[in-house]
C-alpha cells in the first residue's frame, strides 16, 4: 500500500498558538515518515508533557502521550519489547532536560535504536513561560518576573557525553533541512538526538524567529551578509565517525562546535557514529533469538490456554531427591 502525506495526519484540532515553531516540527515529522514510506501502524510516537506533548494527537501513527519527563523510559520500554517498531520520542527542553534529565543521560548509556526530538524554546510554554533549562543565565523573557537565575544546559554536548550516537540540530522554520535531519536520525542505527530551535512566539520574546533569522554585515565586505544560523556541512564541518580511532577527536570537535551561540548558531549533524553497539545488539548477545522472537512477539500459551513455559529443569534444581 502506498501512503500519502495525508495518511500521516489526523483530524484533531491543533490548539498551538498561531505562529508556533511546533508546526514546523510537526510537518517535518509527517514529511519524514511519508518520504521514508514507513507504514503508519509501524510507528509509535511517544511524547512528554507540554505543548510539544500534544504532537502525537496530530500524527496518524500510534501515539502515546506520556508523563512529564518520562517519555524516554516509556519509549525505550516499547522499543526493547518490540524492536520492529519505529519509535520516535518528542518533548520540550523542560521535559527532557529538566524533570527528565536523568533519563536523557541514561538513555545515552543504552543507545537504543530510536529517535528523540527536543522542541527547544527556553521556556515552559503551557504553564505560561517560566524559565526552562536551555534559557541562558540572566535572560529575562517577557514572561519572567526576574531574570533567569540558572545557567543553561548545552543539550548537544550533554547528548555527546551521555553516549547518543547521532546528534543534530535543526531549526523549526527551515522545514526542508529539518526533515532531512529527522530522516537521517530515523535511519541511524542507534539513539539519535535532534535538537530543534523552536521559537515560542508567546513567551520567549528574545529567541524569536526574527532573532534566529537575523544576520550581520561582514566587516571586511559590506555587501556580504553573515546569517546567524548556518549549516554545518556548508562550512566543511564533518562529524561523521568513519573509524573508531576518530571517536575522541570527533567528540571534542562536536562539543567545541556546540558552544557556538549568539553570534552564529550551527545547525546540521554534529556527530554520528554508526559503529557503536546498540542496546538491542547487546541483548542479542545474551538472547540469541531476541530479534526474531522479541518479548512482544512471543507465544506464551497453547490453544487451550495452558502455559507453554517448561520450568521442569528449574524445579529439578529445587528438588530434594
Amino acid at each position: 500500500m502506498e501512503y500519502k502525506l495525508s495518511d500521516y495526519k489526523t483530524e484533531v484540532h491543533n490548539d498551538w498558538c498561531p505562529g508556533c515553531g511546533d508546526f514546523g516540527i510537526l510537518n517535518s515529522i509527517q514529511m519524514s515518515l511519508s518520504d521514508l514510506k514507513i507504514p503508519p501502524h509501524d510507528v509509535a510516537l511517544f511524547s512528554g508533557i507540554g505543548c510539544s506533548g500534544k504532537t502525537p494527537h496530530f500524527i496518524h501513527t500510534y501515539g502515546i502521550h506520556t508523563l512529564h519527563g518520562r517519555v524516554l523510559p516509556f519509549a525505550q520500554g516499547a522499543k526493547l519489547s518490540n524492536p520492529n517498531l519505529k519509535i520516535i520520542a518528542v518533548g520540550g527542553d523542560g521535559d527532557g532536560l529538566g524533570i527528565g534529565s536523568g533519563h536523557f543521560v541514561n538513555a545515552g548509556r543504552r543507545n537504543v535504536n530510536m529517535t528523540y526530538i527536543i522542541y527547544n524554546n527556553g521556556v515552559y510554554g503551557l504553564t505560561k513561560g517560566q524559565a526552562a533549562p536551555t534559557l541562558k543565565l540572566g535572560m529575562k523573557t517577557k514572561s519572567l518576573p526576574q531574570p533567569n537565575m540558572n545557567d543553561s544546559i548545552n543539550p548537544i554536548s550533554l547528548a555527546i557525553i551521555s553516549g547518543f550516537t547521532f546528534i543534530a540540530r535543526g531549526y523549526s522554520y527551515d522545514i526542508k533541512h529539518l526533515k532531512d535531519i529527522i530522516k537521517k536520525g530515523i535511519l541511524h542505527n542507534g539513539l539519535s538526538y535532534i535538537d530543534v530551535l523552536q521559537p515560542c512566539p508567546t513567551y520567549n520574546d528574545i529567541n524569536t524567529k526574527e532573532w534566529y533569522q537575523s544576520y550581520e554585515i561582514d566587516k571586511e565586505d559590506s555587501s556580504k551578509k553573515i546569517p546567524k544560523i548556518y549549516k554545518l556541512d556548508e562550512e566543511n564541518y564533518n562529524g561523521f565517525v568513519s573509524d573508531e580511532n576518530e571517536i575522541p577527536h570527533k567528540i571534542s570537535l562536536a562539543i567545541e562546535k556546540s558552544r557556538e551561540w549568539e553570534k552564529r548558531i550551527p545547525i546540521g549533524i554534529f556527530y554520528q557514529n554508526d559503529k557503536a553497539i546498540t542496546y538491542e545488539e547487546r541483548i542479542e548477545n545474551r538472547i540469541e533469538n531476541y530479534l526474531s522472537n522479541p518479548p512482544a512477539k512471543q507465544i506464551i500459551n497453547d490453544k487451550e490456554g495452558y502455559t507453554i513455559a517448561n520450568i521442569d529443569n528449574l524445579l529439578d534444581k529445587l528438588k530434594t531427591v
Binding site: 483530524e11 502515546i64 516509556f74 516499547a78 536523568g102 500459551n301 495452558y306 507453554i308 528449574l314 528438588k319
Partner: protein, 688 residues
C-alpha cells in the same frame, strides 16, 4: 515452652560476610536432602561486612511454616552471636562456640545493639555473674546448656596437616562446613546424607566438594568423640526420607514469584536495585532463556536495570503497550517513586504488574527488615481515582500461583496490579509441594494480536467529520473493558494520554465524555469483586469443623506473610482447647475489598453455630482478631471502612522482625484466658 512439634530449632550467627549464609545453606540443603521438612529465615543488617547476621532454621517430620524464639542448637562464629542469642537457648540446649571468645568483654563488641546489652545485663545481674563472655558461659552452664568448644583455627590446622594439604589453612571458608557438621553430629545426623547435601551445594566443583566433605567428617567425628554424651539428649524420632520425593521442593521466596512470572508468560521485567526486591529480578536475569513445550525454539525474558524506579515503571508500561506481559519489582521507597506512572497506567487501562516486596518504612526505614506497612499506600498511591488491584500472598508456595493469577487479572480487567509480598517471604526458605504448573491457564481477556477492519468497534459516531474509520481503544459501547491491541497492529492505530481521553485516546475536556470515562474505569472495581473466584479473594485457611459443645469461637483475620505462624498456632491451639472453635480467614484481595463476601462468610459461621445448638454452648461468644505487622492496624482500617465487622483484638508488630510462633502463642493464651490487662491492641516485640 521448648519445641512445639517434634522439631529442632537451629540458629547460626556471625558477622556479615563471615559465611553465615553459606553455612546455613549447606545445613538446610543437607537436612532437606535427608528428607526432612524445613523452614528457615534470614536476618541481616543493611551492611556489607561486619554487622551481625543470622539464620534461623527449624527441622521436623511435619511441614513447618514458622520460626520460634527458642533455640535448641546455637552455632556461633563470634562473641556477639553468643551475647545476642544465648538468652534464647532452651535448657539442655547446645551452644557451639570458638573458645577464642573466652575472656572477651561485652563493651568491646561495638556492633552490639542497646536491647541485647540490656537483656544480657539483666540476666547476668540476676544470676550474679560477671558482665563478660565468661560470665555468660558460666550462666549457661548453670542452665544445663551443653557448651561445645570448636576451636576453628586449631581444627583447620590439624585437618590440613592430616590431609597433607597446607593450602587449606588459607581456606577460612572451611569453618562454615565444620560448624554445621558439628551441629549435625549433635543429633547423630546420618553422615552420608550430610555428604549428599554438601555435594549438591558444590555440584559443579567436585574437588571443593571433596575437601568440604572431608572437613565436615573431621569436625563431625571430633564432636562425637569429644562430647559422646550430648547426642543422646538430642535423639529425635526423625523419619529421614519422608520428603525425598518428586512432589517436594526446597524453595526460597525470592524464587517462587519469578518462577510464577516465567510460567505466566511475563517476558519483560524492569527494576532498580533495592532490598529485598532485587533478588526477584536477579533470578529472572539468571534464567533468561525459557524452555518451552511443543516448541523447538526457546522463549526468553528481557530484564532491564533502569536508572531509577520512575524509569522502571515507565519502561514496563511502554513494554506492556506492545502486548508483552510486563512487570516491575520494587520495595517501598521505589514504589513511592512509581505513584505518578501508576496513575497513567490506570488512566490508559494498561495491564501491568508491580511486585511490591514490603520492608520496614517510612523513608529508608529498616531497609533489610520486615513490615506490612504499605497496604494503605498500595491501595491509595497516585493522585485522582483509578481502578487497580491490590493482591497479597501469604507464603512461598502461594506466591507462585498468585503470580500467575495477578497476570491474568491484570489483562482481563486491564488494570495495574500491585502484588504485595514482603521481606519475610523473600528471605525465607522452606520445603513445600512442587509447583504444579502444567495445569495453569493463561487468560488474556479482550486482547487481540491482529485486528480486522470489519470488527464492530469501528464506527465514526464521535468523529463525524472524518472520512477515515478509526479503531476505538476506549470504546464505550463495549462496556468497562474494551478491545486491546498491541502497538504496531495494522488497522488499529490508537492514542494514549495522561489527559482525559475520548474513545480513540485523544485529549478531551468534554464534561459528558469525562463522566462516561470515569464511570467506565471505576466500574471495573465492582466487576473485579464479582468475577475473581471467591476462594481467590478470601480463603478459609483453617476451621475446626467437628467440635461440639463450643464455648467460644475465635475468628482470625490476616493478610500476607503472617499466615505461616497463624497456621502453626491454630494447629496447636485447636488440640489444646477442645471447646474453642478456631477459624482463620486469609484476605488475599485487598483492593477492591471483598466486603460482602467477607461479611457473609463470618456471619454464616456465627449464625450456623447458633442454629446447631447442640454444637454450641448457650453462653458461647465470638471473638474476632486481626493480625498484621504494622502500627495502624491497616487491615482493621479497611474492615472499618468497608464492612460492619468489629475486631476485638488487633495483634500488631512493628519492630522490624517477623512474628514468631512463640510470641503469637503467648498472646493467644493471654486472650483466651481473658487476662484483664489486655487492651484491644496487643503489641508483639520479640526478635533479635
Amino acid at each position: 515452652m521448648g519445641n512445639y512439634k517434634e522439631s529442632i530449632s537451629w540458629v547460626i550467627g556471625g558477622p556479615q560476610g563471615s559465611g553465615v549464609d553459606s553455612a546455613a545453606n549447606i545445613f538446610i540443603k543437607s537436612v532437606a536432602m535427608a528428607g526432612l521438612h524445613i523452614f528457615g529465615k534470614r536476618e541481616y543488617y543493611s551492611n556489607i561486612k561486619g554487622e551481625h547476621s543470622y539464620f534461623t532454621v527449624r527441622i521436623s517430620n511435619e511441614p513447618i511454616r514458622s520460626h520460634i524464639d527458642e533455640i535448641d542448637i546455637l552455632v556461633t562464629f563470634d562473641a556477639e552471636t553468643v551475647v545476642r542469642h544465648s538468652p534464647y537457648l532452651v535448657n539442655n540446649g547446645v551452644l557451639i562456640y570458638d573458645p577464642e571468645i573466652k575472656g572477651k568483654k561485652i563493651e568491646d563488641i561495638h556492633t552490639l545493639d542497646f536491647s541485647s546489652k540490656k537483656k544480657i545485663k539483666k540476666i547476668l545481674e540476676e544470676s550474679n555473674k560477671n558482665y563478660d563472655l565468661d560470665g555468660i558461659l558460666n550462666d549457661l552452664k548453670e542452665r544445663n546448656i551443653n557448651l561445645i568448644e570448636l576451636p576453628y583455627l586449631d581444627l583447620i590446622k590439624d585437618f590440613s596437616e592430616k590431609s597433607n594439604d597446607h593450602t587449606l589453612s588459607k581456606l577460612a571458608r572451611i569453618t562454615n562446613v565444620m560448624s554445621l557438621a558439628a551441629s549435625l553430629a549433635i543429633f547423630n545426623f546420618d553422615t552420608k546424607k550430610m555428604e549428599g547435601g554438601i555435594r549438591s551445594i558444590f555440584l559443579n566443583k567436585p574437588k571443593i566438594a571433596d575437601i568440604n566433605i572431608d572437613a565436615a567428617n573431621y569436625s563431625y567425628n571430633y564432636i562425637q568423640s569429644k562430647y559422646p554424651d550430648i547426642p543422646k539428649k538430642f535423639i529425635k524420632n526423625f523419619e529421614y526420607g519422608i520428603t525425598n520425593n518428586n512432589n517436594i521442593i526446597l524453595a526460597q521466596g525470592s524464587q517462587s514469584s519469578p518462577l510464577g512470572k516465567i510460567v505466566a508468560g511475563c517476558r519483560f521485567q524492569t527494576y532498580y536495585p533495592i532490598t529485598p526486591a532485587s533478588d526477584d529480578s536477579e533470578y529472572l536475569e539468571s534464567h533468561l532463556i525459557i524452555k518451552q513445550t511443543n516448541n523447538d525454539s526457546n522463549g526468553s525474558i528481557v530484564v532491564i536495570q533502569t536508572e531509577d524506579e520512575i524509569s522502571a515503571i515507565s519502561m514496563a508500561i511502554g513494554a506492556s503497550l506492545t502486548g508483552v506481559r510486563s512487570c516491575t519489582a520494587t520495595s517501598g521507597p521505589g514504589f513511592s517513586l512509581m505513584a505518578e506512572a501508576l496513575g497513567w497506567a490506570g488512566m490508559n487501562e494498561v495491564p501491568l504488574i508491580i511486585s511490591l516486596y514490603q520492608r520496614t518504612g517510612p523513608s529508608t526505614g529498616l531497609p533489610t527488615r520486615q513490615e506490612q506497612g504499605d497496604l494503605l499506600f498500595a491501595i491509595n498511591a497516585g493522585h485522582g481515582e483509578f481502578p487497580r488491584i491490590v493482591y497479597s500472598s501469604g507464603d512461598i508456595e502461594e506466591s507462585f500461583y498468585d503470580t500467575v493469577k495477578v497476570f491474568n487479572y491484570s489483562e482481563i480487567f486491564q488494570v495495574p496490579v500491585i502484588h504485595v509480598l514482603d521481606k519475610f517471604i523473600a528471605n525465607s526458605i522452606m520445603t513445600c509441594r512442587i509447583f504444579d504448573y502444567k495445569k495453569i491457564k493463561i487468560e488474556r481477556g479482550k486482547f487481540l494480536e491482529k485486528y480486522n477492519m470489519t470488527n464492530s468497534n469501528l464506527n465514526s459516531t464521535l468523529n463525524t467529520d472524518s472520512n477515515r474509520e478509526h479503531f476505538k481503544r476506549f470504546d464505550l459501547e463495549e462496556g468497562a473493558i474494551s478491545t486491546r491491541v498491541p502497538l504496531g497492529t495494522e488497522n488499529a492505530i490508537f492514542w494514549n494520554t495522561g489527559d482525559e481521553h475520548d474513545e480513540y485516546g485523544h485529549i478531551t475536556e468534554d464534561p459528558e465524555i469525562r463522566k462516561k470515562m470515569v464511570e467506565k474505569r471505576m466500574s471495573k472495581l465492582k466487576m473485579i469483586t464479582e468475577q475473581i473466584p471467591k476462594e481467590d479473594q478470601i480463603k478459609i485457611e483453617f476451621e475446626d469443623k467437628f467440635k461440639t459443645n463450643i464455648e467460644h469461637t475465635f475468628i482470625i483475620l490476616s493478610w500476607g506473610s503472617t499466615k505461616g505462624a497463624i497456621l502453626d498456632l491454630l494447629e496447636r491451639l485447636s488440640t489444646e482447647f477442645k471447646n474453642i472453635k478456631f477459624m482463620y480467614i486469609q484476605i488475599k484481595l485487598l483492593h477492591p475489598f471483598p466486603s460482602d463476601l467477607l461479611e457473609n462468610t463470618i456471619n454464616k459461621t456465627t449464625k450456623k453455630e447458633m442454629e446447631d445448638s447442640f454444637k454450641v454452648n448457650s453462653n458461647s461468644k465470638t471473638t474476632i482478631i486481626s493480625i498484621e505487622m504494622n502500627y495502624l492496624a491497616q487491615l482493621d482500617v479497611l474492615l472499618k471502612q468497608n464492612t460492619k465487622i468489629n475486631t476485638d483484638f488487633n495483634i500488631l508488630k512493628y519492630n522490624g522482625r517477623p512474628i514468631s510462633f512463640s510470641e503469637l502463642y503467648k498472646s493467644f493464651l493471654n486472650i483466651i484466658n481473658d487476662n484483664n490487662n489486655i487492651g484491644k491492641r496487643v503489641i508483639l516485640e520479640s526478635g533479635v
